[in-house]
Amino acid sequence: MATVQVERRELTLAEKLYIPEVVRGLVVTTRQMLKNAFGKKDVATIQYPEVKKVYPDRFRGRHRLTTREDGTVRCVACMLCSTACPAKCIHIVAGDRGGADVEKYPISFEIDLLVCVYCGFCEEACPCDAIRMDSGRHPLPSFSRDKQRIHKVQLLEDGVRSIARQGGEGT
C-alpha cells in the first residue's frame, strides 16, 4: 500500500505539433472502423426486437405467480410482499377458498408496474415461493396507465409450477 504520484509528463515536441497524435487517434478509430465494417465485428449494439439480450438467471424482470401441482395459484395472500415492497405497488385482496388444504387465496392480486422499482423484495419476502421475478421479461411500455396495473391473470400467464416443498411435510 503506497501513495504513488501519477505520471504526468509535459507534452513532447512531437505531441505539441498535433499531427502525430491526431494520426495516432486516427489509426485507432480507423482500425476500429475497418474491423467493424469488414472484419470481426466489435459492435456492442444489440439489434433489439430481432436479437434479444439473454438475461442472466438472476435478472429481476416482470413478476409472475407460481402454481401448485394442481394448477391453483400458490399465493396464499399473506401480503408479505406488499409489506416488504418499498414502493407499495402490490395490492392483494384475500379470500376464503373453503374446503381446500390451504383455505386462503388471493381474490385479486394486482401490481402497478409503473410504481414498482424492481428491487426484488417481494420475491425475497414471499414465504411460499409464490411470486417470482425470474420471468426474464422486462416490462413493456403501454399507452395507458391501466395497462400497467397487471392482475392475477396476467401474472399467472407465464407462471410456472413451483416444486418447492412447503409446510415441512414429508421430511
Partner: protein, 537 residues
C-alpha cells in the same frame, strides 16, 4: 409485606402478589401465554418460568407468590435456555401457517419466539394433525393445530361469559379445544376469545382474511351501541374501519366487549349520504355545504324560532350537545325540543345496557345545565309548527310521527345515512359519525371518554355541532370554536358535572362526571364575534 429482588432491583409487595405482578410493577417484562390478568391462573404454558433462589427448578412467575428474601432472575442463562426449550416444545406441532393465519403480526407466539429464541428448528418429523378451519360458532373459527392449549378461551367462557361452552378433550399431543357436544360457541361475548387467544387458533369469522393486522391504523374510540360505552379501538385499513377491539378500561369494560357491539361497525359502512342537498322551487338539488347551511338558516329565520320543532339526538357527542344547546338556548330559544334516539333493547348484567344510545346521559347533563328543556320524542306534536330541525337519523320514528313531520313545510335534516328522513328532507346536511369526529361520550355510569377521529370523513360532512354552531352564528347568536378541544373546554366551564375535565385529563380511561377537580385556570371566554372558522370541530 415481602421484600424481594428481581434482576437486582429490590421491591416490597403486598402479600399474595405473584412474581409476575411484582416484575410488572418494576417494569420488567416476563413472557407469558396462558396468563391473563382478567382470568384465573393455571400456569400451564410454562413460558413465564423464572429462576429463583427458592427453588432449584425455575418457577412459573404467574403462579409463584412473592416471598420475603426471594431473589428472581428473569434474564439469566438458565431462564433463557428454559424459554428456548419451552418455545421449542410449543412449536413442535405448530403448523407452518403464518401466511394464512390472521393472527400473524399480533401473535404472541411469534413475538416470544423471535425475542427469546430465534434459532432454527432441530426437530424433523411429521407434525401432529388436528382439525383446521373448524366452525365453533356463528362468529368463531378454530384451527386446532395452531392451538397451544393455554386454555384462556375455556376460562373466559367459564368465568366471564358465564356460559361454559368450551373444553379440552383428549390427552398429550392429541389434546384439542372443542365445544361441548351439541353446543356452539355462541354466547354474546364469544368473540372475546379471539382477542385473548395468544395465537391464531381462534379467529373471528367476521375479520377472517380481511387484511393483515400490521397494515391497520388504529384509534381509540367508544362503542356507540349501548349506553355502556365500552372503550374500544377502531382498526382501519385504507381508511375503512375493519374491526372493533375492546381496549382495557377498568372503569367500564375491563378487557371485554359484547359481540353485538363488536360487529356493529359494519352497519355504518354503507348507505352513507355525504352530499348536502337543498330544495329550490320544489326540486331537490345537490348543494355545497355553505349554501345548504345558508338555506337552512333562511328557513329558520323566516319561520322564527317559535314555529320550529327540534329533534335532538342522544348520539350527539358532548361537544355536539353543548353547541346545540347553545343554539337552542340562544337564537332558537322558543323552539319545541324533543329527544330522539334508538328504542331500548336487551340487557344483561355483564356489559350490555338496555339503552341503545351512547350519550343520553351526557346530553341530558348538558341540556339541563345550559337550560334547554325537552320532551321525549314519543310526545312529538307539531301543532302550530312549520319547520322541523332534526339531528341524527336513527330515532326509530313511527309512521305516525313521520307523517306528522312530513306534514310540516320544511324539514332540515342533519344526518349521515340514507333513511326515510333523508327522502323527506327539505335541506339535508350530511353529518359525521362517531369514528369521524373528535369528541367525547358520557356513558350510563357517567364516565366521560374520548373519541378519536379515526377515519377521515368526506370534506362535505361536518359534525352536528358544527352545523349548530354555523346556524347559530348565522342566526345572530354568534359563537365560534376552532377545535373540539376548545368546545370541550367551554363545556367543562359551563356544565358543572364536567368541571375539571379536559381532553388531556380524560386520558385512556376517562373520568366520571363530577369527579374532576375544578380547573385551576378558568377556561377562556368564548369568542362571540368574527366569522366561524372553516375548521370543522
Amino acid at each position: 409485606m415481602p421484600t424481594m429482588t428481581i434482576d437486582g432491583q429490590e421491591i416490597t409487595v403486598d402479600r399474595g402478589t405473584t412474581v409476575l405482578q411484582a416484575a410488572t410493577q418494576l417494569g420488567i417484562d416476563i413472557p407469558t401465554f396462558c396468563y391473563h390478568p382478567g382470568l384465573t391462573i393455571v400456569a400451564n404454558c410454562r413460558m413465564c418460568l423464572v429462576d429463583t433462589n427458592k427453588s432449584p427448578k425455575p418457577l412459573p412467575a404467574c403462579h409463584a407468590t412473592a416471598m420475603d428474601g426471594m431473589e428472581v432472575w428473569t434474564q439469566n442463562e438458565k431462564v433463557q435456555k428454559v424459554r428456548k426449550s419451552v418455545l421449542e416444545f410449543i412449536l413442535v406441532n405448530h403448523p407452518v401457517d403464518c401466511p394464512i393465519c390472521d393472527q400473524a403480526g399480533e401473535c404472541v407466539l411469534q413475538d416470544h419466539y423471535f425475542n427469546f429464541s430465534a434459532q432454527p428448528s432441530r426437530l424433523f418429523h411429521r407434525k401432529q394433525h388436528k382439525p383446521k378451519a373448524k366452525v365453533l360458532g356463528p362468529d368463531i373459527m378454530l384451527d386446532a393445530e395452531r392451538c397451544i392449549l393455554c386454555t384462556r378461551c375455556v376460562r373466559f367462557c367459564d368465568e366471564i361469559a358465564k356460559t361454559p361452552q368450551l373444553t379440552v378433550v383428549n390427552r398429550g399431543e392429541h389434546s384439542e379445544i372443542t365445544t361441548f357436544p351439541g353446543e356452539e360457541l355462541d354466547n354474546p361475548y364469544a368473540i372475546n376469545v379471539v382477542d385473548i387467544c395468544p395465537v391464531g387458533a381462534l379467529t373471528s369469522r367476521d375479520f377472517r382474511f380481511q387484511t393483515r393486522v400490521w397494515f391497520l391504523q388504529t384509534g381509540r374510540s367508544v362503542c356507540p351501541e349501548c349506553s355502556k360505552g365500552c372503550t374500544i379501538r377502531v382498526d382501519t385499513f385504507e381508511g375503512v374501519p375493519r374491526r372493533y377491539k375492546p381496549a382495557h378500561n377498568p372503569q367500564v369494560n375491563d378487557w371485554w366487549m359484547c359481540d353485538t357491539g363488536r360487529l356493529s361497525y359494519s352497519d355504518y359502512l354503507d348507505n352513507r349520504m355525504e352530499g348536502p342537498t337543498t330544495t329550490v322551487d320544489g326540486k331537490r338539488r345537490v348543494a355545497d355545504t355553505e349554501s345548504a347551511v345558508r338555506g337552512a338558516v333562511e328557513i329558520l329565520r323566516k319561520e322564527g324560532a317559535g314555529k320550529v320543532v327540534v329533534v335532538v339526538s342522544p348520539w350527539f357527542t358532548n361537544e355536539d350537545a353543548y353547541l346545540t344547546a347553545r343554539l337552542l338556548k340562544g337564537p332558537l330559544s322558543g323552539a319545541a325540543v324533543y329527544m330522539g334516539g334508538r328504542p331500548d333493547g336487551v340487557q344483561d348484567d355483564i356489559l350490555i345496557e338496555a339503552d341503545k344510545n351512547p350519550n343520553r346521559r351526557g346530553v341530558a347533563e348538558i341540556f339541563n345545565a345550559v337550560g334547554v328543556s325537552y320532551a321525549p320524542l314519543s310526545a312529538l306534536s307539531t301543532a302550530g309548527k312549520t319547520t322541523a330541525l332534526i339531528f341524527g337519523d336513527n330515532h326509530g320514528l313511527s309512521d305516525a310521527q313521520r307523517d306528522l313531520l312530513g306534514g310540516l313545510d320544511h324539514r332540515i335534516v342533519v344526518g349521515a345515512f340514507m333513511t326515510p328522513l333523508w327522502r323527506q328532507a327539505t335541506v339535508f346536511l350530511p353529518a359525521r359519525i362517531h369514528w369521524e369526529k373528535d369528541g367525547s361520550f358520557t356513558n350510563v355510569d357517567g364516565v366521560v371518554q374520548r373519541l378519536e377521529r379515526v377515519v377521515k370523513a368526506a370534506a362535505t360532512a361536518k359534525s352536528d355541532g358544527w352545523y349548530s354552531m354555523k346556524m347559530g352564528y348565522a342566526l345572530g347568536g354568534g359563537y365560534r370554536f376552532d377545535t373540539p378541544g376548545a368546545v370541550f373546554d367551554a363545556l367543562c366551564h359551563d356544565v358543572p358535572g364536567f368541571a375539571g375535565m379536559s381532553y388531556s385529563r380524560l386520558g385512556d380511561h376517562g373520568m366520571v362526571l363530577g369527579s374532576g377537580e375544578p380547573p385551576l385556570v378558568p377556561s377562556p371566554d368564548v369568542a362571540t364575534d368574527g366569522p366561524a372558522l372553516e375548521a370543522a370541530p
